[in-house]
């Protein structure tokens, strides 16, 4: 293939056509543009006129250039130019495609598989046998087959949520020579170098790695009462922030996001931590943390019981504990449990109500019947009752003859003392914990000795109820199930009086084994040993939980090893349940580091993206076509036929300019902050703009006049009134809208209606004024009345009634019976009173209206006309005649004041009817 720089040509000999361009140049140059024939009567006047320039019968040079370029582009296009021609030398022999297939691959698995499929298809095209290997599988035979056989299987491959077993594969590779393409996940895994060596022994190796960063989440841990989440990343780059989401069931049991915290990776740091402070109730519900940015198993960290802080109730022997701190039986328990659990102390009946996980009774012998019943019920529902013996228990006769429900065994009278001054024998040490005991696996230190204890009656169940014993076989810890819960008795005290057990680390471990307290964040192998762990939920490579199904349990030792080294094929990540607790096996350990894979220089490493060979034929042909179109325009222009086109362009330009203001208006629809400020810094009366300049002017002047009167007479001090465009402006700022209705007012849009209805529902009031009470009663067919009906049809207006004589509007400030504006005595409609049964009881002077302000007041008295004043406060319009007219104006103002008071104080006046009753009550 002939190439020029990054461009190759499929049919290079066609480029010879470029030689013909100069010939074309001469040809084109010789032919002038064709003339237009025009019928034109004025030709009579043209006869005999000569052209000034003789040159123009040749094509202009730039037009020629344009055409040459077009032709050249066409020639180049047909020569088949290809950008980045694919020139890889075809390999030979079998091809092995190795895929890591680990959780880190899940971040761009589809692209990996695309690449793998492309490799398989390529090999198929070359007739090479091919095999695809997923390194997370168990080592097995590698069969080279035809590409067709592999094509379907490659598409079905999925990543696995553990690291590839590179070391295992190193010995399992097929013999013979083959070429290898390794689709690596980019992480350093142990054994990579060894496997690479083996592969290189058998042929060339090519590595393809994705440049996408890997993000992974470490298990969360506790530190000083807060949850610490940590994440790592590879490669280390600039500062970046990722979000960690904590998920868990809500109180309804539905999985949802419980908390969210931002993790900030500083530039150059591979690890970031964040603190999540949550209330224990919420924290205990968290089942998993996940990184929002990544969908891989590594970005998910399941939580087990380690995050749960249990509530433990400590009950001491009683109020007479005035001894030294160190002698208090609760002291050691507090010391052991405080860092890891929530402790509750108080009376037994109180703490049972708090539903603790564990109740510890330290040397409490006697329980009242109610306490005993409550405790029994609580244990039967799954509680753990842990009792410690002590002098009181030994001295009491609890469980002496009949086994107490809240004690696992019957007790012998008095107990025993060994190794004391008055007894023979040595203090007893602990026997090794028997298999089947929850303490199995713990090592009892030699220095733990028991000097005194209470003794169990040798009942038939004693042996099975004993979970720890002294080396002479005396039971030390006994346990019995009770309902869903259990009762455990430690036959020694919780302080160091009877034994040195509370002083040893074993005491804490035993408490942990009894699931009394939380365990350390990462249970060690020793903690897990000796138990069988059954997987409950498992993670797939994408971090999705799935049910474990039929998978069998695993040994604690194996699990312990996996905890340290990460999950494997045999032990997939997930949640494993033991007897008392659950353990999460996560992909990432607390200290796992993400390290980039290191490849020797001899191995070529490619990105996932392939520089696709790109055919440029289409682009060149398009360019040629575009140039030819330009040529058409230019030729038209040269020939003088473009005038019509020019006109078209001008028309389009005008249309564009005309379209401009609409855009500007659309922007103007945004809420106006200036208006909001003006309307909310003080009380502002507002009127609806009708579009009729005269009406709007009178409405503004009217509200100004009313505002003046409010300033003078009341504590309401409104600012200058505002005209409101209901289509555009926000209405919520105004407590009161005056709406003069004109006959030709446009019906508001649906959006405006929505706004108005919202306004009415949330306590706004609109005073509709048809201003025609002189010629018509309300509702009759005056033009304004019809306009009002039309406008109000879309409003959420409650049932109305003519204003009754005892309406609260008649007495909110002045006592009024009449509500004139410029027209006297037009009827006024307000929200109808509630139904008869809701009305006030006998003896109330006024009706007790419901708690609202009437949302609309409708009338036609032209109040604004009566209120209207000019700038210096002189009435703008005449009202009535002479003194009577001025009187009418005064009443109009009073109505306005009453109305504003009603709007601003709500049913305050209405409630005043109760004053006499209240005073009477106070007097008594």
């Amino acid at each position: 293939m002939f190439t020029l720089g990054p461009i190759g040509f499929a049919v290079p000999w066609l480029l010879l056509g470029l030689i013909a361009l100069p010939i074309l140049w001469f040809l084109l140059r010789a032919v002038p543009p064709a003339p237009i024939r025009r019928r034109f009567p004025g030709v009579a006047l043209l006869l005999g006129l000569k052209d000034d320039e003789a040159e123009t019968d040749k094509t202009p040079w730039w037009l020629l250039l344009l055409r040459m370029l077009a032709v050249a582009a066409a020639i180049v296009a047909f020569a088949g130019p290809i950008l980045n021609p694919n020139e890889r030398v075809a390999g030979s022999g079998p091809l092995l495609v190795v895929v890591d297939g680990s959780w880190a691959d899940a971040r761009d698995w589809p692209r990996r598989m695309e690449r793998a499929e492309a490799l398989v298809a390529e090999a198929g095209a070359e007739g090479r046998p091919v095999a695809v290997l997923r390194l997370t599988d168990a080592p097995g035979a590698v069969d080279f087959q035809t590409a067709e056989a592999w094509a379907g299987r490659v598409a079905g491959l999925q990543p696995q949520p553990w690291a590839p077993a590179l070391a295992d594969w190193a010995g399992a590779l097929p013999e013979g020579r083959f070429e290898t393409v390794w689709l690596s996940d980019g992480l350093a895994h142990p054994g990579r170098a060894a496997l690479l060596d083996e592969l290189q022994d058998r042929g060339t190796v090519r590595v393809i790695e994705s440049p996408r960063p890997v993000l992974a989440l470490h298990p969360a841990r506790f530190e000083e009462g807060a949850v610490i989440v940590a994440a790592s990343r590879m490669p280390v780059a600039d500062a970046v922030e990722v979000e960690v989401i904590a998920r868990g069931p809500d109180p309804g049991g539905i999985e949802r996001e419980l908390a969210r915290v931002m993790l900030a990776f500083p530039a150059g740091e591979a690890r970031a931590e964040a603190t999540l402070d949550l209330p224990p109730e919420l924290r205990n519900r968290i089942t998993r943390f996940e990184l929002e940015a990544a969908r891989t198993a590594g970005a998910v960290s399941l939580t087990d019981d380690s995050l749960k802080r249990r509530k433990i109730a400590l009950i001491g022997a009683g109020p007479d504990q005035e001894g030294l701190q160190l002698l208090s039986p609760l002291h050691y328990l507090r010391q052991a449990l405080e860092p890891v659990a929530e402790l509750i102390e108080g009376s037994l009946s109180d703490v049972v109500l708090a539903n603790p996980d564990v109740v510890i009774l330290a040397d409490v012998a006697r329980l009242t019947q109610t306490e005993s019943d409550a405790l029994t019920e609580w244990v039967e529902e799954g509680g753990l009752l842990l009792r410690f013996a002590g002098p009181r228990l030994a001295a009491s006769d609890v469980s002496r003859f009949e086994e107490d429900a809240l004690l696992p065994v019957r007790l012998r009278e008095g107990g025993r003392t060994v190794g004391g001054a008055m007894s023979w024998g040595e203090p007893k040490a602990l026997a090794p914990f028997a298999e089947g005991s929850p303490f199995y696996g713990l090592v009892a230190p030699n220095d733990v000795v028991v000097r005194a204890q209470v003794l169990a009656q040798p009942d038939p169940q004693l042996a099975e109820r004993t979970i720890a014993a002294l080396d002479d076989g005396t039971p030390l810890v006994t346990r019995k199930g009770l309902g869903d819960g259990q009762v455990v008795l430690v036959h020694v005290t919780a302080n160091a009086e009877w034994s040195s057990l509370p002083l040893s680390g074993l005491f804490v471990q035993m408490l942990e084994r009894l699931a009394v307290s939380t365990r350390p964040a990462m249970p060690g192998a020793a903690d897990l040993a000796g138990q069988t762990w059954v997987p409950e939920t498992l993670l797939d490579a994408y971090g999705q939980s799935e049910d474990a199904g039929e998978m069998g349990g695993v040994e604690g030792e194996v699990l312990g090893a996996a905890m340290a080294e990460g999950p494997t094929l045999a032990l997939p990540p997930g949640l494993y349940a033991g007897e008392e607790r659950r353990v999460a096996l996560n992909v990432m350990g607390p200290e796992t580091q993400l390290l980039p894979a290191v490849w020797p220089v001899s191995v070529p490493v490619e990105g996932l993206g392939v520089r696709e060979a790109q055919a440029l034929k289409g682009a060149f042909l398009t360019a040629a076509l575009g140039l030819l179109l330009l040529d058409v325009l230019a030729a038209l222009w040269v020939a003088g036929r473009l005038s019509g086109l020019r006109r078209g362009v001008a028309v389009m330009a005008v249309a564009l300019v005309a379209a401009q203001p609409q855009g500007a208006r659309a922007q103007g629809a945004l809420p106006d902050d200036a208006l909001a400020l003006e309307a909310t810094t003080a009380v502002v009366l507002a009127h609806v703009l009708t579009g009729d300049a005269r009406v709007d002017e009178v409405a503004a002047a009217g509200l100004l006049g009313l505002g003046d009167k409010l300033w003078q007479r009341t504590s309401v001090e409104p600012q200058m009134p505002i005209g409101v465009d209901i289509e555009r402006d926000e209405l919520a700022f105004f407590p009161f809208l005056y709406w003069p209705v004109t006959a030709d007012q446009p019906t508001p849009s649906a959006a405006a209606y929505e706004k108005l209805n919202q306004y009415l529902r949330t306590g706004g009031m609109i005073l509709f004024d048809t201003r025609d009470a002189d010629v018509a009663g309300f509702g009759s067919a005056t033009p304004a009345g019809q306009a009002l009906q039309r406008i109000a049809a879309g409003l959420d207006v409650p049932p109305l009634e003519p204003m009754p004589a005892d309406h609260v509007l008649t007495r909110t400030f002045y006592l009024l019976q009449d509500f004139p504006g410029r027209h006297p005595r037009g009827q006024i409609w307000v929200e109808a009173a509630p139904l008869a049964e809701d009305q006030a009881p006998e003896g109330m002077p006024f009706r007790n209206l419901n708690d609202g302000v009437t949302p609309v007041v409708i009338g036609g008295n032209d109040w604004a006309g009566a209120w209207a004043v000019d700038e210096i406060g002189v009435p703008l319009l005449p009202v009535g005649r002479g003194f009577a007219g001025e009187q009418q104006r005064e009443v109009a103002y009073r109505f306005g004041i009453n109305l504003i008071m009603h709007v601003l104080t709500g049913n305050y006046k209405s409630d005043q009817v109760h004053v006499p009753a209240l005073l009477e009550r106070l007097g008594q």
Binding site: R39, F40, P41, G42, V43, A44, L46, D51, T56, G640
Partner: protein, 290 residues
């Protein structure tokens, strides 16, 4: 023949907005025809003028017996002398009048016919006699209008440019020539001379398309006359614009000069403008042409 009623309807519509056009008759004696223009003296006519005592030479038939019976003397009833004006219209029928610079505009010829017929409507309503030069003799009455409309819409000529027709022009009458006057001016000059010989006064209305007035052409162009008889090729039509406009202005000047010399009026009307303005002008020209 569907064109004629349409043309007539449009012409009637245009003519309705003007008061009846009363062309003044200058010369009474030559064309003593009864019309509606009172001559303020006794003569032939329909309207009563005066009773005068009969004197010798009056035939017995002339005596108004009813008036004479009321007195002792004999009276003759005299009627007012009324005369009508004859207006001859000439509309250029040549091919050049078929030109229009834009599809949305009417051709020049259409506009000329419309104007002519509108004028005829007005004149006929005023009682004048209107004819078409070479096609219809001047007559009065609404039937004449129908005849004129039919003739006008029939008319078409093979000539590239029209030469004014003076045949049928009534002496001392009035004449209106509607043409683009882009052809040979000698013919116009001759026609005007003949008209002047017969004492005919009138108006020249030059009807031009806006394209002819603006010359909005560019580039390599071959201009052809409407019949294809004349052609002119240019490489840069835009370069010719100034010279073309100069020649057009010169021609208008010459036409105006010719008209002035024989006491005629001259105007240029563009088909881009409303016809009303031209009709108003013609109204004024025929009325004020004394």
């Amino acid at each position: 023949m569907s064109v004629a009623p349409d043309l007539r309807a449009r012409a009637e519509a245009l003519g309705q907005s003007l008061p009846p056009l009363l062309a003044e008759a200058e010369m009474l004696a030559a064309t003593v025809m009864l019309g509606e223009h009172g001559r303020r003296r006794a003569g032939l006519g329909d309207e009563f003028w005066q009773y005068r005592p009969a004197h010798q030479g009056d035939s017995a038939r002339m005596i108004d017996w009813r008036r004479s019976a009321r007195s002792d003397a004999h009276f003759v009833r005299e009627r007012e002398w009324q005369a009508a004006q004859s207006v001859t219209l000439w509309v250029d029928p040549s091919k050049s009048m078929q030109f229009t610079g834009d599809k949305s505009r009417a051709a020049k010829g259409d506009r000329a016919k419309l104007l002519a017929l509108a004028l005829a409507v007005l004149l006929l309503r005023g009682g004048e006699r209107v004819g078409l030069a070479g096609l219809a003799h001047p007559r009065a009455g609404r039937t004449q209008l129908l005849r004129l409309a039919a003739r006008l819409s029939d008319e078409a000529a093979e000539a590239e440019y029209g030469a004014p027709e003076t045949e049928g022009m009534v002496s001392h009458g009035r004449a209106v020539f509607l043409s683009d006057f882009l052809g040979d001016l000698a013919a116009v000059e001759a026609a005007l001379a003949r008209a002047a010989d017969r004492g005919v006064k009138g108006a020249l209305i030059q009807i031009l398309d806006p394209a002819e007035e603006d010359f909005p052409f560019d580039g390599r162009t071959i201009f052809e006359s409407m019949g294809g008889g004349l052609r002119h090729e240019t490489q840069q039509a835009g370069e010719l614009r100034a010279r073309y406009l100069a020649r057009l202005a010169e021609r208008k000047d010459r036409l105006a000069g010719l008209a002035r010399a024989v006491g005629w009026h001259f105007t240029t009307h563009h088909t881009g403008q409303p016809a009303q303005s031209a009709l108003l002008w013609a109204y004024a020209a025929l009325q004020g042409g004394r």
